[in-house]
Amino acid sequence: MLCAALGAAPAPVQVAPGGSPELRERVTLHYARLAHAMYDDALRGALALQAAVERLLAAPSPDTLQAARRAWIDARRSYSQTEALRFGNSNVDLWEGNVNAWPIDEGFLDYVTGEYAYDVGNPHARENLVGSQHDLSPRALRVSHEMAGLEPNVATGYHAIEFLLWGQDLNRTPASAGERPSTDYIDGPGCTHGSCARRARYLLLTVRLLVDDLREMHADWREQQGEYWTEFRGLDARERLGRMLVGLGSMGGGELAGERMRAALLAHSQEDEQSCFSDTTHLDLFYNALGIQDLYLGRYTRRDGTLVEGPALSELVHSVDPELDRALRARLEATQARATAIVNAAESGEPFDRQIAAENATGTQRVQAMIDALAAQTESFAAVAARLVGP
């Protein structure tokens, strides 16, 4: 679809300022189709994680723990791409806090050792849901989430699971992540750090809740049936495009460039690193950016390798302003290149928390380069919004 649009010379027909109504309709509905495919993969990833966690709990060992961690990283890869659907779609925004809340006062969840920084204003920062007498049921976890209205009291979602699989990142060596032993899950003699049976129950419950949450979001976007799909379909194309573009601009320009990268770079602190227990923040950044590019280009590569493609936002922009489309595609590509550089460095033993270290000039420049690229693409998204949506 995209190639056709780019390959052919623009037909000399008069198009409306925001593109043809027919194309606007097709592009926005394809976006919903991509959303469904992305959540389908996120759900599959979470189911695989659940299976790996069940194997870990059935026979805790370094191997089963390692396999569960790999499953988390893999599940997270799919989820991270869906974040480009945030900030515009109300169903995602209302739900997101249950699955992706961060940062965590981890003493709220389980034992902590060493220097543990938490908010003085958080009376539950040492609650230790695992090691205390708190009721452990799906409902209790839901109720405990954001206890006392405080966001660092994270009881559910990817980062709670991450902490339960990795433990605190105490940086024993520069490249090390959290080093939670598999014996933390041995029910009986050999249990480390106490409350192993409760910890195992907690981990299983929270993984199941994650699966439930993803099922809900997956169902929400189901074509012709999903609640949000129906709402989205009921909007006029201008409102749909508004939601899409606010999301793409806010995720890249605000959440990613601002909170996750610029704040982390200025603070030089792993407390500002999103996946700080597993030291996989570089993958979050890469897949967050990829999701944005995918939604613009109208194509998404599934977990099984198949390609979903169709009428792209890019094609719509091209129809009204080929130069704007060309610039935005180039900028998205530049972001990908810079994200890839961060991933390559991380995989060569320089995790994101080292790349943002004050004394690491090369690392900080590498991170700054991606921030700059995100700022540039966001500028283009703002221009696209002005062309396609308003004022």
């Binding site: 515009g88 925004d93 961060w102 920084a117 204003g121 966001e151 959440e255 601002g258 603070a267 500002d272």
Partner: protein, 469 residues
């Protein structure tokens, strides 16, 4: 943060960023915060970016929010710019006190203060102290400084345990119904640095909400000064005065706008002062730790840098505070009877409804979103004598011990939704809006009396109106 941005996109606010905010029906009053107004009224109501914040400035807003929200740690922490907490401090993040950008509250009786603090000072007794008063606003206690820091890093004794005790204050409405207010007094225990000065004056303060700070900063000085009537020439019993405070960046006297006694001239200085006083984090504006001569462990504690807060971070947090949106009113048309009472009783004499912000100066084009906005803060930003009942007896610059700045009322109806409490006034003594009204005295005494003389149904109408702000 996840929630913050999340809710931003839920409604009209998101489309505001694209210039799509809808025009209001003619019958509705204009938006509280002009084009910054956000239409989400849940727990995130005070945390949303201004509806007209351009997409390209979201990175600054999000980064600023991160520094506002996350906890600071003591120095030295391995190469982190988030260190520098203390040595003496009240809390370790802005958000601890301004939870969800809202207001703080008093703790349970006898419990340690969390989202409030205690200011301290002594009368100026020497020429040097009188000179200090002109730039610092008050003379710090020689041993404890100008604020009781009830927490400290390891190895440094916290100054004191600070708690509140409460005393009942009975009263009666005109219709004979009785009520009971409660008045706090500050109890300092476990004093770590010797006796308190015999003339010490203490003032307990809750953290104020952040609603609309950037817009208040843009109200033209002349518009505020025009409302001042220090000698009550118009004879209405209300004699608002401007506070003249010290602008540290310009090293000059300036109009005070922020704080319970309007002791800060700019938002940037307000933020820097809170970083130093409340978190123990120095900045280019306030490069010295507030350690007094007897606090040697404080003076010798490791520093997180000179200064500890980079200007870039100070500017981001300031930008964040400036560009938070103002929540829209809910159901304003049903609140007309209460609104009429609000005016008839004279409340609007100080809680001034409407201003228009000034044009964007050339150097501030980044904040043009705040320029030329018609806003409804319900404050004149002036100092008023509020009577003996509310007096703290502690002057601050031109404000005497009975004067307080009119607190803006926008967003006041959302305090429960955001903060899960309804504590009002400088020390959080009022347990609801009605108690806050009943504490009014001094220049507001006639308005308070008129309120107590109303029928219950009329009082409810007035309270209903406040709830829509």
């Amino acid at each position: 943060m996840t929630r913050l941005a999340a809710s931003w996109a839920l409604g009209l606010a998101a489309l505001g960023a694209l210039g799509l905010a809808p025009a209001h029906a003619a019958a509705e009053p204009p938006d509280s915060g002009g084009a910054t107004t956000v239409h989400i009224v849940d727990a995130s109501a005070f945390s949303l970016p201004a509806a007209n914040l351009p997409m390209t400035r979201l990175a600054d807003f999000f980064a600023g929010n991160s520094f506002f929200t996350n906890a600071w740690v003591r120095a030295p922490a391995s190469a982190s710019a988030r260190d520098g907490l203390g040595p003496l401090f009240n809390t370790n993040s802005c958000q601890s006190c301004h939870l969800k950008d809202g207001r703080g509250q008093p703790p349970a009786p006898g419990a340690e203060l969390v989202s409030m603090l205690v200011r301290a000072s002594v009368p100026a007794r020497t020429a040097a102290e009188r000179a200090l008063e002109r730039t610092a606003g008050a003379v710090p206690d020689p041993r404890y400084g100008d604020q009781i820091q009830n927490r400290a890093v390891e190895g440094v004794p916290p100054e004191a345990h600070a708690a509140l005790t409460w005393q009942d204050v009975p009263g009666r409405f005109g219709d004979g119904t009785s009520y009971t207010l409660q008045r706090p007094s500050v109890q300092l225990a476990a004093l770590a640095y010797g006796p308190l000065d015999p003339e010490l004056r203490l003032s307990a303060r809750v953290a104020p909400p952040l609603v609309g700070m950037g817009l208040l900063e843009r109200i033209p000085e002349a518009a505020i000064a025009a409302l001042a009537d220090p000698d009550d020439r118009d004879g209405n019993g209300i004699s608002g005065r401007t506070n003249q405070v010290w602008d540290a960046a310009r090293a000059a006297s300036a109009l005070g706008r922020f704080g319970w006694k309007a002791g800060q001239p700019t938002l940037r200085q307000q933020v820097a002062a809170a970083f130093r006083g409340d978190l123990g984090i120095t900045s280019s504006l306030f490069p010295e730790q507030p350690c007094t001569p007897v606090q040697s462990a404080c003076a010798q504690a490791p520093s997180g840098g000179a200064p500890e807060l980079a200007d870039e971070v100070l500017d981001l947090v300031t930008f964040y505070a400036q560009t938070l949106g103002v929540p829209a009113r809910r159901n304003p048309s049903t609140a007309r009877p209460g609104e009429a009472l609000f005016r008839a009783l004279g409340c609007a004499g100080c809680h001034v409804e409407r201003f228009v912000t000034g044009p964007a100066p050339d150097a501030q084009t980044a904040l043009s979103l705040l320029a030329d906005q018609e806003i409804h803060p319900y404050s004149d930003l002036l100092l008023h004598d509020m009577g003996e009942g509310l007096a703290d007896g502690r002057p601050e610059f031109a404000a005497d011990g009975r004067e307080w700045r009119t607190p803006p009322l926008w967003g006041i109806g959302l305090v429960h939704a955001v903060s899960r409490h309804t504590r009002f006034l400088h020390d959080g003594r009022a347990r609801n809006l009605e108690e806050a009204i009943l504490w009014h005295g001094g220049e507001a005494e006639p308005a308070r009396r008129a309120y107590t003389a109303l029928q219950r149904s009329e009082r409810d109408q007035l309270l209903f109106f406040l709830g829509t702000l």
